[in-house]
Symmetry: C2
Subunit: 160 residues, 2 copies
């Protein structure tokens, strides 16, 4: 996570991942390819749909989180390298849980994502590595929580 080793990541740390603007074009493009439900594709159909408004596929909101998570890590790693430090490699994730889409994301919305460290532990099964637990959230331009999930990511200990 952002190039830090397990020892350097403290519970409560909040990482601002940046903001994503959802255009109508991008919402339609994603939905056409991966989630062609009428309320993601057509404004008239969406008015009669479950949210009453055209909304982004939940997987679009999640994928945009990933985009900004990756960019945030890459920015942090470049900064560490510029300081002459060796960033920790970002490990894969064994999985995510409690994905929730709390409010529709609609054309013109800007969602700001953040990731909060909720805990960490060493892995007895994998010496030199630990798990970092995070709460990931996306807020729209009105400050409303629209998306959240709990993640965990394999993170190396600092080499001896």
């Amino acid at each position: 996570m952002i190039g830090l080793y397990l020892e350097e990541i403290e519970e409560g740390r909040v990482v601002d991942l940046g903001s994503h603007h959802f255009t109508k074009e991008a919402i339609l493009a994603f939905a056409t390819q991966y989630d062609p439900q009428p309320f993601h594709l057509d404004e008239e159909a969406a008015r009669k749909g479950p949210f009453g408004v055209l909304s982004a596929s939940g997987w679009h909101t999640a994928s945009a989180w990933m985009k900004h998570y990756v960019a945030s890590n890459q920015r942090a790693e470049a900064k560490l390298r510029a300081e002459g430090r060796v960033p920790a490699p970002v490990g894969p994730s064994p999985g995510f849980t409690n994905l929730r889409w709390l409010k529709p994301v609609t054309p013109g919305d800007t969602v700001t994502y953040r990731s909060t460290v909720t805990g960490k532990r060493e892995l007895k099964s994998r010496p030199g590595w630990g798990l970092v637990f995070t709460l990931n959230e996306g807020f729209n331009q009105r400050g409303e929580l629209v998306f959240s999930f709990e993640g965990k990511v394999l993170t190396p200990r600092r080499p001896a």
Copy 2:
């Protein structure tokens, strides 16, 4: 779910959602837009990465599940309408949990998705509606489980 009302959905029912072929082009296109990590973008970098092979973004595998879930529902609803029946509207999902990516999905892989009903219950808080719980899985062409998550979906009772 596939146009059925809460009363018609029995625990243990397995719905075959169909298969998705992951081309290298589609893997790169998704990763470029939403998950630009080197092991999703470049074969040489992927060889040194956590999986040793170029792999699809986990969100790509999840989004392809959605595509086939939607198509499966639309096929089932069309069939019910052709029989003169009124399909149950597919309700939104309050969330998913335990998303796991168990093996990498690589260029040329074909993932077959299925959804198994693991339970259902009526909602006291929302008369006329219930929740259907599902286990969703994706298997590659070697029969290996590559992706799974537990879903729940709001499902209406049959109108009186």
